[in-house]
């Protein structure tokens, strides 16, 4: 199952590193990353393959990263976006 991770917040050192190492700790494979920094606002979208990892395990781990990096992180099933925005 694939999921989309979005990270939005004030830019600081190590956001990408912390999110990607959390993914790696959970055996979650990163397929695609799209990141931009607009002034000092950090925005990143990641498409990941969860493999056998339950989505709530990854979500719980990323909640810790959220606090650590002072950003807003969402983890959602890819199908939601596909069904809402594709006919």
């Amino acid at each position: 199952m694939k999921a989309v991770i979005t990270v939005v917040g004030k830019d600081s050192v190590g956001i990408l590193s912390k999110v990607s190492s959390t993914c790696s700790d959970c055996s979650v494979n990163i397929i695609e990353v799209n990141q931009s920094v607009l002034r000092d606002l950090f925005a990143m979208l990641m498409l990941v393959d969860l493999g056998e990892t339950p989505i709530d395990v990854l979500r719980d781990k990323l909640t810790e990263v959220e606090k650590l990096t002072n950003t807003k992180i969402h983890v959602m099933h890819e199908d939601i976006f596909n069904s809402m925005h594709r006919i």
Partner: protein
């Protein structure tokens, strides 16, 4: 690849604009639970509901977690108890309500609908007993919801039932006067009741339905309002209608996804998606605010009916392509106490019961969650039901009446139900006594448009 803009739009809808799946409702047929012995029938009812719906709440929560979509309610609707009670020797049919309530508590669902009777053309065995017991059933149980269908375009209006229901609504409020008259808030009187509606309090599992089925109700007035706020300035009404259609499409796709997934996991056939804009008391989640966003100073002012007609139609047109089966009530709800904008408009005095009645001719349901003065007579309640049912009958649409007489209170005061049911200001009703008309009884003939064959 998914586009960044689409992803952020969806997340914003859920985080800031109150987008959610309002309810996953499992419809369960109880036709095989009938028994001459009411105690045996109640055991069968309880067992069947608990067996079929044992995983409903857990599955709903799992989907919620996995997909990151809030699913607010998990509910159950059952066959009209008026039918199930038909063969019972005992007339103490409140026992069924206890069984339903017990099952709802056991399963963790917040409402169970189906303490109902379908009497649009006449009463059959069981119907009288169930209708008569509604006030008691709603006062001694917590989660049971009741509905009575008193008319249809095909059958006309059963005016004996209309007369009876005025009395029943009043009694339901009186019996729960110590709890803000909550009994009446769980009772709906319908004309042209849909048999696959997943929304409470009017949900029941129709006789033509499968043994068990999953129906899903989506919502999202906040999302529609946000779309209009962002892009609606200076646009013509056809452009506004297009914007609403596109938003309704997206909302419904999410509902369809959840419905399919729930149906697959529970191994129960998928019934319908009900694409209704159902407001909640949460700030921003209001149908009245959408109407005001279109350019009305206050919901209830002249122009409200036209704006609501546009909204109701665009929601259906946008949603219908997004789902394989659309049903239930589908459209825009206008429950006063559940909608922050309606409450404000009623308090300001721009929205009154007469305007609401006009609005029900073009919205998806009817006079919903309206608190009326405590000294209202049963005949006046019946007359309001008759007016509303006549609108439904003539226009071949569902209309419903859910009025709450605020026992001991007058216009200007309010009732507070808490949770999704909200807070309602007591709204004055029109003067004049309709009791001679109501006491005539009989059957109001079906209109010519019923003869379509």
């Amino acid at each position: 690849m998914l586009e960044t803009r689409d992803i952020l739009e969806t997340i914003n809808m859920i985080d800031n604009e109150n987008l959610d799946v309002r309810t996953i409702t499992m419809g369960i047929s109880l036709l095989d639970c009938m028994d001459e012995d009411i105690d045996k029938a109640c055991v069968k009812v309880y067992d069947k509901i608990c067996r079929y719906a044992q995983d409903l709440v857990k599955t709903g929560e799992d989907i919620e977690k996995e997909y990151g979509i809030p699913i607010i309610n998990k509910r159950i609707s059952v066959s009209p108890i008026g039918m199930i009670a038909a063969p019972c020797q005992s007339r103490n049919v409140v026992k069924f309500a206890h069984s339903l309530d017990k099952a709802a508590h056991e399963l963790g669902v917040n409402f169970i609908g189906g303490y109902s009777a379908l009497v649009q053309k006449g009463f059959s065995a069981g119907d009288y007993a169930v209708i008569d017991s509604i006030p008691e059933a709603l006062s001694v149980t917590e989660r049971v919801c009741s509905s009575v269908n008193i008319g249809s375009t095909k059958a006309g209006l059963n005016m004996d039932a209309v007369k009876m229901m005025g009395k029943i609504i009043r009694e339901s409020a009186e019996k729960t006067a110590d709890r803000d008259c909550i009994g009446a808030a769980k009772l709906v009187v319908f004309c042209n009741a849909p048999e696959d509606n997943p929304f409470m309090a009017g949900a029941f599992h129709g006789v033509g339905e499968a043994d068990c089925v999953i129906n899903v109700g989506v919502s999202g007035p906040g999302v529609v309002r946000a779309a209009l706020k962002k892009n609606g300035a200076g646009k013509s009404v056809d452009e506004i209608a297009d914007m609403i259609k596109k938003t309704a499409f997206k909302i419904t796709r999410m509902g369809q996804l959840v419905a399919k997934e729930a149906s697959k996991r529970l191994c129960v056939p998928f019934g319908i998606v009900d694409l209704s804009l159902a407001p909640t008391p949460a700030v921003g989640d209001s149908v009245a605010y959408i109407l005001e966003e279109m350019g009305l100073e206050s919901c209830g002012c002249h122009g409200t009916t036209a704006a609501l007609a546009l909204l109701n139609d665009a929601v259906k047109k946008g949603g219908v392509m997004a789902s394989s089966h659309v049903g239930g009530l589908s459209g825009a709800f206008i429950p006063v106490s559940e909608d922050a904008g309606m409450i404000a408009a009623a308090k300001r005095g721009t929205l009154d019961i007469t305007k609401l009645e006009c609005m029900t001719a073009v919205c998806s349901v009817g006079l919903d969650m309206i608190v009326v003065p405590g000294d209202i007579t049963a005949e006046t309640l019946s007359a309001i039901i008759a007016d509303e049912a006549a609108i439904g009958m003539v226009n071949s649409k569902t209309t419903a009446v859910r009025l709450i007489p605020a026992i001991g209170k007058k216009a200007g005061e309010e009732l507070s139900f808490g949770g999704l049911l909200g807070t309602g200001p007591v709204m004055p009703v029109r003067n004049g006594d309709p009791s001679v008309f109501i006491n005539r009884g009989g059957r109001l003939p079906a209109p010519l448009q019923s003869l379509k064959n």
